[in-house]
Protein backbone atom coordinates (compact mmCIF):
# COMPACT_ATOMS: atom_id res chain seq x y z
CA UNK A 1 0.00 0.00 0.00
CA UNK A 2 1.39 3.36 -1.06
CA UNK A 3 2.30 6.10 1.42
CA UNK A 4 0.91 8.74 -0.91
CA UNK A 5 -1.67 7.88 -3.49
CA UNK A 6 -3.43 10.35 -5.71
CA UNK A 7 -6.33 9.15 -7.80
CA UNK A 8 -8.02 11.10 -10.55
CA UNK A 9 -7.04 14.46 -9.12
CA UNK A 10 -8.69 17.46 -10.72
CA UNK A 11 -7.66 20.78 -9.23
CA UNK A 12 -6.89 24.40 -10.03
CA UNK A 13 -7.00 28.01 -8.93
CA UNK A 14 -10.59 28.98 -8.23
CA UNK A 15 -12.57 28.44 -11.44
CA UNK A 16 -9.49 27.68 -13.56
CA UNK A 17 -8.76 23.95 -13.74
CA UNK A 18 -5.08 23.10 -14.20
CA UNK A 19 -4.86 19.41 -13.36
CA UNK A 20 -7.24 16.92 -14.94
CA UNK A 21 -7.61 13.38 -13.69
CA UNK A 22 -4.00 12.95 -12.56
CA UNK A 23 -2.77 9.80 -10.78
CA UNK A 24 0.37 9.46 -8.73
CA UNK A 25 1.56 6.96 -6.16
CA UNK A 26 4.66 6.88 -3.97
CA UNK A 27 5.77 4.15 -1.61
CA UNK A 28 7.41 4.87 1.69
CA UNK A 29 11.09 5.79 1.33
CA UNK A 30 10.90 6.65 -2.36
CA UNK A 31 11.95 9.74 -4.27
CA UNK A 32 9.32 10.75 -6.79
CA UNK A 33 10.16 13.37 -9.36
CA UNK A 34 7.59 15.30 -11.35
CA UNK A 35 8.89 16.67 -14.64
CA UNK A 36 7.34 18.21 -17.70
CA UNK A 37 7.27 21.37 -19.80
CA UNK A 38 6.41 24.79 -18.38
CA UNK A 39 2.75 25.12 -17.53
CA UNK A 40 2.26 21.37 -17.28
CA UNK A 41 0.94 21.76 -13.73
CA UNK A 42 3.97 20.37 -11.89
CA UNK A 43 4.02 22.92 -9.06
CA UNK A 44 0.22 22.90 -9.03
CA UNK A 45 0.43 19.21 -8.19
CA UNK A 46 2.45 19.89 -5.03
CA UNK A 47 0.20 22.78 -4.06
CA UNK A 48 -2.85 20.56 -4.46
CA UNK A 49 -1.31 17.91 -2.21
CA UNK A 50 -0.47 20.61 0.34
CA UNK A 51 -4.02 21.94 0.52
CA UNK A 52 -3.35 25.27 -1.14
CA UNK A 53 -5.77 24.86 -4.04
CA UNK A 54 -9.36 23.94 -4.72
CA UNK A 55 -9.64 20.24 -5.41
CA UNK A 56 -12.72 19.59 -7.55
CA UNK A 57 -12.30 15.91 -8.16
CA UNK A 58 -10.39 12.81 -7.17
CA UNK A 59 -8.72 12.01 -3.88
CA UNK A 60 -5.39 12.33 -2.10
CA UNK A 61 -4.66 9.62 0.44
CA UNK A 62 -1.66 9.83 2.73
CA UNK A 63 -0.66 7.06 5.10
CA UNK A 64 -4.15 5.62 4.99
CA UNK A 65 -5.89 8.94 5.69
CA UNK A 66 -7.84 10.94 3.15
CA UNK A 67 -6.19 14.37 3.19
CA UNK A 68 -8.07 15.83 0.21
CA UNK A 69 -8.95 19.46 0.98
CA UNK A 70 -7.15 19.60 4.34
CA UNK A 71 -5.64 23.08 4.58
CA UNK A 72 -1.88 23.50 4.61
CA UNK A 73 -1.60 24.79 8.20
CA UNK A 74 -3.09 21.49 9.41
CA UNK A 75 -0.83 19.22 7.37
CA UNK A 76 2.18 19.60 9.67
CA UNK A 77 0.14 17.46 12.06
CA UNK A 78 0.03 14.74 9.40
CA UNK A 79 3.83 15.09 9.07
CA UNK A 80 3.84 16.44 5.55
CA UNK A 81 6.22 19.35 4.91
CA UNK A 82 6.35 21.64 1.92
CA UNK A 83 9.25 23.76 0.66
CA UNK A 84 8.04 26.46 -1.72
CA UNK A 85 10.16 27.50 -4.67
CA UNK A 86 10.57 31.14 -3.68
CA UNK A 87 10.61 33.12 -0.45
CA UNK A 88 11.08 29.93 1.47
CA UNK A 89 12.97 31.33 4.48
CA UNK A 90 12.20 33.96 7.11
CA UNK A 91 14.81 36.44 5.94
CA UNK A 92 15.20 38.51 9.11
CA UNK A 93 15.23 35.51 11.44
CA UNK A 94 18.50 33.72 12.12
CA UNK A 95 19.13 30.28 10.68
CA UNK A 96 18.40 28.67 14.04
CA UNK A 97 15.22 30.71 14.52
CA UNK A 98 14.10 29.56 11.06
CA UNK A 99 14.55 25.98 12.17
CA UNK A 100 12.74 26.64 15.45
CA UNK A 101 9.81 28.08 13.50
CA UNK A 102 9.73 24.84 11.51
CA UNK A 103 8.98 23.07 14.78
CA UNK A 104 6.30 25.62 15.80
CA UNK A 105 3.55 23.02 15.78
CA UNK A 106 5.52 20.74 18.08
CA UNK A 107 5.35 21.12 21.82
CA UNK A 108 7.98 18.50 22.67
CA UNK A 109 11.74 18.98 22.96
CA UNK A 110 13.19 19.30 19.47
CA UNK A 111 16.89 19.62 20.28
CA UNK A 112 17.60 16.15 18.87
CA UNK A 113 15.85 17.10 15.61
CA UNK A 114 17.94 20.26 15.48
CA UNK A 115 21.11 18.20 15.89
CA UNK A 116 19.89 15.84 13.19
CA UNK A 117 19.31 18.76 10.77
CA UNK A 118 22.76 20.17 11.52
CA UNK A 119 24.16 16.71 10.77
CA UNK A 120 22.63 16.75 7.30
CA UNK A 121 23.62 20.41 6.75
CA UNK A 122 26.86 20.95 8.67
CA UNK A 123 27.38 24.42 7.09
CA UNK A 124 24.21 25.63 8.76
CA UNK A 125 25.58 25.01 12.22
CA UNK A 126 28.36 27.56 11.66
CA UNK A 127 25.87 30.07 10.35
CA UNK A 128 23.14 29.47 12.89
CA UNK A 129 23.27 33.00 14.34
CA UNK A 130 23.19 34.70 10.94
CA UNK A 131 19.96 36.09 9.48
CA UNK A 132 18.81 33.72 6.74
CA UNK A 133 18.38 36.66 4.36
CA UNK A 134 22.14 37.23 4.33
CA UNK A 135 22.89 33.75 2.99
CA UNK A 136 23.44 32.76 -0.65
CA UNK A 137 20.65 31.18 -2.67
CA UNK A 138 21.95 27.66 -2.18
CA UNK A 139 22.43 28.10 1.56
CA UNK A 140 18.94 29.58 1.86
CA UNK A 141 17.62 26.45 0.16
CA UNK A 142 19.37 24.36 2.84
CA UNK A 143 17.70 26.46 5.56
CA UNK A 144 14.35 25.92 3.82
CA UNK A 145 14.96 22.14 3.77
CA UNK A 146 16.01 22.25 7.40
CA UNK A 147 12.90 24.20 8.39
CA UNK A 148 10.73 21.56 6.71
CA UNK A 149 12.60 18.68 8.36
CA UNK A 150 11.89 20.02 11.86
CA UNK A 151 8.51 18.28 12.04
CA UNK A 152 10.31 15.02 11.18
CA UNK A 153 8.09 14.63 8.11
CA UNK A 154 7.18 11.34 6.53
CA UNK A 155 6.75 13.14 3.22
CA UNK A 156 8.54 16.25 2.05
CA UNK A 157 7.34 18.21 -1.00
CA UNK A 158 10.07 20.15 -2.81
CA UNK A 159 9.12 22.71 -5.44
CA UNK A 160 12.02 23.21 -7.88
CA UNK A 161 14.74 23.25 -5.24
CA UNK A 162 17.48 24.00 -7.78
CA UNK A 163 15.73 26.91 -9.51
CA UNK A 164 18.11 29.82 -9.96
CA UNK A 165 21.12 28.03 -8.51
CA UNK A 166 24.54 27.60 -10.10
CA UNK A 167 25.25 24.15 -11.64
CA UNK A 168 27.71 23.44 -8.83
CA UNK A 169 25.10 24.05 -6.17
CA UNK A 170 22.51 22.00 -8.06
CA UNK A 171 24.45 18.80 -7.52
CA UNK A 172 24.91 19.76 -3.86
CA UNK A 173 21.14 20.11 -3.54
CA UNK A 174 20.46 16.78 -5.26
CA UNK A 175 23.05 15.25 -3.00
CA UNK A 176 21.22 16.62 0.09
CA UNK A 177 17.88 15.37 -1.26
CA UNK A 178 19.37 11.87 -1.38
CA UNK A 179 20.74 12.34 2.15
CA UNK A 180 17.31 13.38 3.43
CA UNK A 181 15.72 10.43 1.64
CA UNK A 182 18.23 8.02 3.22
CA UNK A 183 16.96 9.04 6.67
CA UNK A 184 13.64 7.49 5.64
CA UNK A 185 11.79 10.55 4.37
CA UNK A 186 9.70 10.09 1.26
CA UNK A 187 10.36 12.88 -1.25
CA UNK A 188 8.07 14.32 -3.91
CA UNK A 189 9.98 16.83 -6.00
CA UNK A 190 9.23 19.04 -8.98
CA UNK A 191 12.26 19.73 -11.16
CA UNK A 192 13.25 21.66 -14.27
CA UNK A 193 16.56 19.82 -14.52
CA UNK A 194 14.75 16.68 -15.53
CA UNK A 195 17.74 14.51 -16.41
CA UNK A 196 19.61 15.04 -13.16
CA UNK A 197 16.44 14.70 -11.13
CA UNK A 198 15.25 11.51 -12.81
CA UNK A 199 18.69 10.01 -12.25
CA UNK A 200 18.10 10.09 -8.48
CA UNK A 201 14.39 9.23 -8.69
CA UNK A 202 12.79 5.92 -7.82
CA UNK A 203 9.72 7.01 -9.71
CA UNK A 204 9.22 9.67 -12.36
CA UNK A 205 6.00 11.33 -13.43
CA UNK A 206 5.93 13.21 -16.69
CA UNK A 207 3.06 15.68 -16.80
CA UNK A 208 1.94 17.54 -19.89
CA UNK A 209 -1.03 19.85 -20.22
CA UNK A 210 -2.17 19.04 -16.71
CA UNK A 211 -2.40 15.28 -17.36
CA UNK A 212 -0.26 12.20 -16.84
CA UNK A 213 1.91 11.64 -19.85
CA UNK A 214 4.38 8.95 -18.71
CA UNK A 215 4.82 7.24 -15.37
CA UNK A 216 7.69 4.84 -14.78
CA UNK A 217 10.86 4.37 -12.76
CA UNK A 218 13.34 7.23 -13.09
CA UNK A 219 15.81 5.10 -15.04
CA UNK A 220 13.19 3.77 -17.48
CA UNK A 221 12.03 7.30 -18.24
CA UNK A 222 15.60 8.36 -18.91
CA UNK A 223 16.01 5.38 -21.26
CA UNK A 224 12.69 5.90 -23.03
CA UNK A 225 13.52 7.50 -26.41
CA UNK A 226 10.12 9.19 -26.72
CA UNK A 227 10.38 10.81 -23.31
CA UNK A 228 13.92 11.85 -24.13
CA UNK A 229 12.86 13.43 -27.42
CA UNK A 230 9.76 15.21 -26.13
CA UNK A 231 10.73 16.22 -22.62
CA UNK A 232 14.39 15.85 -21.92
CA UNK A 233 15.76 17.75 -24.90
CA UNK A 234 17.05 14.75 -26.88
Amino acid sequence: MSLLSIDGLTAGYGQMTILRDVDMALDEGEIGVIVGPNGAGKSTMLKAIFGMLTVTGGSITFDGTDITGIRSEKLAGHRIAYVPQENNVFASLTVEENLEMGAYTRRDDVSHVLDHVYEIFPDMKDKRRQPAGELSGGQRQMVAFGRALMIEPKLILLDEPTAGLSPMFMSVIFDRVIAINRTGVTVAMVEQNAKQALAIAHKGFVLAGGQNSYTDTGQNLLDNPEVARSFLGG
Binding site: E73, L75, P84, S92, M101
Partner: protein
Protein backbone atom coordinates in the same frame (compact mmCIF):
# COMPACT_ATOMS: atom_id res chain seq x y z
CA UNK B 1 26.77 76.55 33.27
CA UNK B 2 23.22 77.77 33.85
CA UNK B 3 22.83 77.94 30.11
CA UNK B 4 23.90 74.33 29.79
CA UNK B 5 21.46 73.22 32.47
CA UNK B 6 18.73 75.14 30.70
CA UNK B 7 19.69 73.41 27.46
CA UNK B 8 19.63 70.01 29.16
CA UNK B 9 16.23 70.68 30.72
CA UNK B 10 14.52 72.25 27.77
CA UNK B 11 16.08 70.57 24.80
CA UNK B 12 17.44 67.18 25.79
CA UNK B 13 15.08 66.15 28.60
CA UNK B 14 11.96 67.45 26.95
CA UNK B 15 13.02 65.77 23.71
CA UNK B 16 13.57 62.47 25.47
CA UNK B 17 10.21 62.75 27.23
CA UNK B 18 8.18 63.30 24.11
CA UNK B 19 10.46 60.87 22.28
CA UNK B 20 9.65 58.12 24.79
CA UNK B 21 5.93 58.74 24.26
CA UNK B 22 6.38 58.60 20.48
CA UNK B 23 8.44 55.42 20.83
CA UNK B 24 5.78 53.67 22.96
CA UNK B 25 3.11 54.59 20.41
CA UNK B 26 5.26 53.79 17.37
CA UNK B 27 6.08 50.27 18.63
CA UNK B 28 2.38 49.43 18.43
CA UNK B 29 1.88 51.10 15.05
CA UNK B 30 4.90 49.34 13.56
CA UNK B 31 3.93 45.91 14.94
CA UNK B 32 0.37 46.28 13.67
CA UNK B 33 1.72 47.28 10.28
CA UNK B 34 4.17 44.38 10.26
CA UNK B 35 1.56 41.75 11.09
CA UNK B 36 -1.69 43.13 9.72
CA UNK B 37 -0.28 45.29 6.91
CA UNK B 38 -2.20 48.48 7.52
CA UNK B 39 -1.59 51.85 9.13
CA UNK B 40 -3.64 51.88 12.33
CA UNK B 41 -5.05 55.39 12.51
CA UNK B 42 -7.04 54.67 15.65
CA UNK B 43 -3.84 54.32 17.65
CA UNK B 44 -3.93 57.91 18.90
CA UNK B 45 -7.41 57.58 20.28
CA UNK B 46 -6.59 54.23 21.77
CA UNK B 47 -3.97 56.16 23.74
CA UNK B 48 -6.56 58.69 24.92
CA UNK B 49 -8.96 55.91 25.78
CA UNK B 50 -6.23 54.17 27.74
CA UNK B 51 -5.51 57.34 29.68
CA UNK B 52 -9.20 57.72 30.56
CA UNK B 53 -9.33 54.10 31.71
CA UNK B 54 -6.26 54.70 33.89
CA UNK B 55 -7.97 57.69 35.47
CA UNK B 56 -11.12 55.64 36.11
CA UNK B 57 -9.08 52.87 37.75
CA UNK B 58 -7.17 55.48 39.78
CA UNK B 59 -10.45 56.96 41.05
CA UNK B 60 -11.62 53.45 41.93
CA UNK B 61 -8.40 52.85 43.87
CA UNK B 62 -8.85 56.15 45.66
CA UNK B 63 -12.44 55.36 46.57
CA UNK B 64 -11.19 52.10 48.06
CA UNK B 65 -9.16 54.24 50.39
CA UNK B 66 -5.78 53.38 48.94
CA UNK B 67 -3.01 55.94 49.26
CA UNK B 68 0.47 55.76 47.95
CA UNK B 69 3.55 57.95 47.59
CA UNK B 70 3.46 57.34 43.82
CA UNK B 71 0.53 58.71 41.83
CA UNK B 72 -2.52 56.46 41.83
CA UNK B 73 -2.85 56.95 38.08
CA UNK B 74 0.33 54.92 37.69
CA UNK B 75 -1.24 51.99 39.54
CA UNK B 76 -4.46 52.48 37.60
CA UNK B 77 -2.42 52.22 34.44
CA UNK B 78 -1.80 48.47 34.73
CA UNK B 79 -5.44 47.32 34.82
CA UNK B 80 -6.11 49.97 32.17
CA UNK B 81 -3.40 48.45 29.96
CA UNK B 82 -5.06 45.05 30.26
CA UNK B 83 -8.46 46.60 29.50
CA UNK B 84 -7.13 48.50 26.48
CA UNK B 85 -5.51 45.33 25.16
CA UNK B 86 -8.84 43.50 25.48
CA UNK B 87 -10.70 46.33 23.78
CA UNK B 88 -8.11 46.30 20.97
CA UNK B 89 -8.74 42.58 20.42
CA UNK B 90 -12.48 43.21 20.54
CA UNK B 91 -12.18 45.97 17.92
CA UNK B 92 -10.14 43.61 15.77
CA UNK B 93 -12.87 40.98 16.00
CA UNK B 94 -15.66 43.47 15.31
CA UNK B 95 -14.14 45.68 12.63
CA UNK B 96 -10.85 44.49 11.18
CA UNK B 97 -11.15 40.71 11.12
CA UNK B 98 -14.32 40.61 8.98
CA UNK B 99 -12.57 42.87 6.46
CA UNK B 100 -9.40 40.77 6.57
CA UNK B 101 -11.40 37.58 6.00
CA UNK B 102 -13.13 39.21 3.04
CA UNK B 103 -9.70 39.93 1.56
CA UNK B 104 -9.97 43.72 1.92
CA UNK B 105 -7.07 45.77 0.58
CA UNK B 106 -4.90 47.71 3.05
CA UNK B 107 -6.48 51.03 2.11
CA UNK B 108 -9.87 49.68 3.18
CA UNK B 109 -8.38 48.66 6.53
CA UNK B 110 -6.92 52.14 6.95
CA UNK B 111 -10.32 53.68 6.28
CA UNK B 112 -11.89 51.32 8.80
CA UNK B 113 -9.36 52.45 11.40
CA UNK B 114 -10.17 56.09 10.61
CA UNK B 115 -13.79 55.15 11.28
CA UNK B 116 -12.82 53.56 14.59
CA UNK B 117 -10.86 56.67 15.57
CA UNK B 118 -13.81 58.98 14.86
CA UNK B 119 -16.09 56.69 16.83
CA UNK B 120 -13.68 56.59 19.76
CA UNK B 121 -13.35 60.37 19.73
CA UNK B 122 -17.10 60.71 19.93
CA UNK B 123 -17.50 58.16 22.70
CA UNK B 124 -14.68 59.72 24.74
CA UNK B 125 -16.27 63.16 24.48
CA UNK B 126 -19.70 61.84 25.42
CA UNK B 127 -18.41 60.21 28.57
CA UNK B 128 -15.33 62.26 29.34
CA UNK B 129 -16.40 65.74 28.28
CA UNK B 130 -14.16 68.12 26.40
CA UNK B 131 -12.32 69.81 29.25
CA UNK B 132 -8.79 69.04 30.41
CA UNK B 133 -8.39 66.98 33.57
CA UNK B 134 -5.49 66.33 35.85
CA UNK B 135 -4.40 62.75 36.28
CA UNK B 136 -3.26 63.69 39.79
CA UNK B 137 -6.40 63.10 41.77
CA UNK B 138 -5.08 62.75 45.29
CA UNK B 139 -1.62 64.14 45.78
CA UNK B 140 0.02 66.93 43.80
CA UNK B 141 2.65 66.11 41.21
CA UNK B 142 6.04 65.60 42.84
CA UNK B 143 8.85 67.67 41.38
CA UNK B 144 12.51 66.77 41.84
CA UNK B 145 15.31 69.27 41.52
CA UNK B 146 18.88 68.20 41.00
CA UNK B 147 21.46 70.87 41.77
CA UNK B 148 24.76 70.83 39.97
CA UNK B 149 27.77 72.31 41.77
CA UNK B 150 28.45 75.21 39.38
CA UNK B 151 24.91 76.15 38.50
CA UNK B 152 22.23 78.08 40.32
CA UNK B 153 19.60 76.61 38.03
CA UNK B 154 18.58 73.05 38.93
CA UNK B 155 17.80 70.18 36.60
CA UNK B 156 14.07 69.66 37.00
CA UNK B 157 12.34 66.33 36.61
CA UNK B 158 8.77 65.59 37.59
CA UNK B 159 7.45 62.33 38.96
CA UNK B 160 5.63 61.28 35.76
CA UNK B 161 8.76 61.95 33.72
CA UNK B 162 10.82 59.65 35.92
CA UNK B 163 8.09 57.00 35.73
CA UNK B 164 8.04 57.42 31.96
CA UNK B 165 11.78 56.89 31.59
CA UNK B 166 11.81 53.83 33.81
CA UNK B 167 8.73 52.37 32.13
CA UNK B 168 10.12 52.93 28.64
CA UNK B 169 13.47 51.34 29.53
CA UNK B 170 11.72 48.29 31.03
CA UNK B 171 9.43 48.04 28.00
CA UNK B 172 12.32 48.14 25.53
CA UNK B 173 14.14 45.33 27.33
CA UNK B 174 10.99 43.28 27.79
CA UNK B 175 10.07 43.70 24.14
CA UNK B 176 13.54 42.69 23.03
CA UNK B 177 13.38 39.61 25.24
CA UNK B 178 9.91 38.73 23.94
CA UNK B 179 10.81 39.10 20.26
CA UNK B 180 14.12 37.24 20.37
CA UNK B 181 13.67 34.64 23.09
CA UNK B 182 10.07 33.48 23.18
CA UNK B 183 8.26 31.19 20.79
CA UNK B 184 5.39 33.60 20.21
CA UNK B 185 7.72 36.58 19.78
CA UNK B 186 9.76 34.79 17.14
CA UNK B 187 6.54 33.71 15.45
CA UNK B 188 5.50 37.37 15.33
CA UNK B 189 8.72 38.25 13.53
CA UNK B 190 8.22 35.29 11.22
CA UNK B 191 4.69 36.38 10.28
CA UNK B 192 5.89 39.94 9.74
CA UNK B 193 8.68 38.61 7.54
CA UNK B 194 6.80 36.15 5.37
CA UNK B 195 3.11 35.52 6.16
CA UNK B 196 2.67 32.86 3.47
CA UNK B 197 5.58 30.79 4.70
CA UNK B 198 4.39 31.27 8.28
CA UNK B 199 1.01 29.72 7.51
CA UNK B 200 2.63 26.88 5.52
CA UNK B 201 4.84 26.23 8.55
CA UNK B 202 1.75 25.88 10.70
CA UNK B 203 2.22 29.05 12.78
CA UNK B 204 -1.14 29.98 14.27
CA UNK B 205 -1.72 33.44 12.80
CA UNK B 206 -4.60 34.07 15.24
CA UNK B 207 -2.31 33.93 18.25
CA UNK B 208 0.13 36.26 16.56
CA UNK B 209 -2.65 38.73 15.76
CA UNK B 210 -3.82 38.66 19.38
CA UNK B 211 -0.30 39.20 20.67
CA UNK B 212 0.04 42.17 18.32
CA UNK B 213 -3.11 43.84 19.64
CA UNK B 214 -2.19 43.07 23.24
CA UNK B 215 1.23 44.69 22.93
CA UNK B 216 0.00 47.54 20.74
CA UNK B 217 -3.03 48.24 22.94
CA UNK B 218 -1.19 47.99 26.25
CA UNK B 219 1.63 50.26 25.11
CA UNK B 220 -0.82 52.76 23.61
CA UNK B 221 -2.58 52.90 26.97
CA UNK B 222 0.74 53.39 28.77
CA UNK B 223 1.85 56.13 26.39
CA UNK B 224 -1.48 57.94 26.70
CA UNK B 225 -1.51 57.65 30.48
CA UNK B 226 2.08 58.77 30.98
CA UNK B 227 1.65 61.68 28.56
CA UNK B 228 -1.53 62.78 30.37
CA UNK B 229 0.25 62.48 33.72
CA UNK B 230 3.00 64.73 32.40
CA UNK B 231 0.68 67.29 30.82
CA UNK B 232 -3.06 66.86 31.36
CA UNK B 233 -5.76 64.55 30.10
CA UNK B 234 -7.58 66.11 27.16
CA UNK B 235 -9.83 64.24 24.75
CA UNK B 236 -7.81 65.45 21.76
CA UNK B 237 -4.47 64.80 23.44
CA UNK B 238 -3.27 61.79 21.54
CA UNK B 239 -4.81 62.63 18.21
CA UNK B 240 -2.32 65.48 17.96
CA UNK B 241 0.63 63.20 18.43
CA UNK B 242 -0.63 60.54 16.03
CA UNK B 243 1.13 62.14 13.06
CA UNK B 244 4.55 62.37 14.74
CA UNK B 245 4.10 58.73 15.78
CA UNK B 246 3.50 57.75 12.18
CA UNK B 247 6.55 59.79 11.18
CA UNK B 248 8.61 57.99 13.84
CA UNK B 249 7.35 54.63 12.58
CA UNK B 250 8.35 55.37 9.00
CA UNK B 251 11.65 57.01 9.95
CA UNK B 252 12.58 53.94 11.98
CA UNK B 253 11.65 51.51 9.21
CA UNK B 254 8.10 50.17 8.95
CA UNK B 255 7.58 46.88 10.77
CA UNK B 256 10.80 47.27 12.78
CA UNK B 257 10.17 47.57 16.55
CA UNK B 258 13.71 48.77 17.27
CA UNK B 259 13.39 51.23 14.44
CA UNK B 260 10.19 52.55 16.00
CA UNK B 261 12.02 53.18 19.29
CA UNK B 262 14.94 54.90 17.54
CA UNK B 263 12.55 56.85 15.32
CA UNK B 264 10.49 57.96 18.30
CA UNK B 265 13.48 59.37 20.14
CA UNK B 266 14.93 60.90 16.97
CA UNK B 267 11.70 62.70 16.15
CA UNK B 268 11.24 63.80 19.77
CA UNK B 269 14.75 65.20 20.11
CA UNK B 270 14.64 66.93 16.74
CA UNK B 271 11.35 68.55 17.68
CA UNK B 272 12.67 69.93 20.92
CA UNK B 273 15.98 71.03 19.36
CA UNK B 274 14.07 72.83 16.63
CA UNK B 275 11.95 74.88 19.01
CA UNK B 276 14.74 75.43 21.55
CA UNK B 277 15.88 79.03 21.91
CA UNK B 278 19.53 78.60 20.94
CA UNK B 279 20.46 82.17 21.83
CA UNK B 280 20.42 81.16 25.51
CA UNK B 281 23.19 78.68 24.81
CA UNK B 282 25.04 80.97 22.41
CA UNK B 283 24.84 84.25 24.37
CA UNK B 284 27.74 83.40 26.73
CA UNK B 285 29.83 82.93 23.58
CA UNK B 286 29.04 86.41 22.23
CA UNK B 287 32.48 87.87 23.13
CA UNK B 288 34.14 85.06 21.21
CA UNK B 289 32.24 85.75 18.00
CA UNK B 290 32.06 89.50 18.54
CA UNK B 291 28.40 89.61 17.51
CA UNK B 292 25.11 90.10 19.30
CA UNK B 293 22.72 87.19 18.97
CA UNK B 294 19.03 88.06 18.79
CA UNK B 295 17.12 87.32 21.98
CA UNK B 296 15.11 84.59 20.34
CA UNK B 297 16.88 82.16 18.08
CA UNK B 298 14.77 79.05 17.57
CA UNK B 299 14.87 77.12 14.32
CA UNK B 300 11.07 77.16 14.15
CA UNK B 301 8.51 78.81 16.42
CA UNK B 302 6.74 76.44 18.83
CA UNK B 303 3.46 76.66 16.92
CA UNK B 304 5.11 75.03 13.93
CA UNK B 305 6.53 72.13 15.92
CA UNK B 306 4.33 69.61 14.10
CA UNK B 307 6.23 70.33 10.91
CA UNK B 308 9.51 68.92 12.27
CA UNK B 309 8.62 65.20 12.15
CA UNK B 310 7.70 65.60 8.51
CA UNK B 311 10.91 67.40 7.62
CA UNK B 312 12.83 64.47 9.18
CA UNK B 313 10.51 62.06 7.42
CA UNK B 314 11.21 63.63 4.03
CA UNK B 315 14.96 63.71 4.62
CA UNK B 316 15.03 60.06 5.71
CA UNK B 317 12.82 58.94 2.84
CA UNK B 318 15.07 60.67 0.32
CA UNK B 319 18.34 59.29 1.61
CA UNK B 320 17.21 56.01 3.14
CA UNK B 321 13.79 55.10 1.74
CA UNK B 322 13.29 52.05 3.93
CA UNK B 323 13.97 53.92 7.18
CA UNK B 324 16.86 53.74 9.62
CA UNK B 325 16.36 50.01 10.27
CA UNK B 326 15.55 48.59 6.84
CA UNK B 327 11.78 48.34 6.99
CA UNK B 328 9.14 47.30 4.53
CA UNK B 329 8.54 49.30 1.38
CA UNK B 330 5.10 50.87 1.29
Amino acid sequence: MNALVFFFDNAILSGLIIGAIYALGAIGVTLIFGILRFAHFAHGDMMTMGAFLSLIFAVLLQSMGIHSPIALAFFGMFPAMAATALIAILFDKLFYKPLRDAGARPVVMVMASVGVTLMLQGVLRVFGGVSARSMYIGSPKAIFQFHLPDATRPIVLTEPQIILFVFTAVTVFALHYFLTRTRLGKAMRAVSDNPDLASITGIDIRHVVWATWIIGGALACAAGTLLSMDVALKPDLSFNILLPIFAATIVGGIGQPYGAIAGGFLVGLCESFAVFNWSILLRPLEPMFGVDFPSSLAIVPTEYKLMIPFVILIIVLIYRPTGIFKGKVL
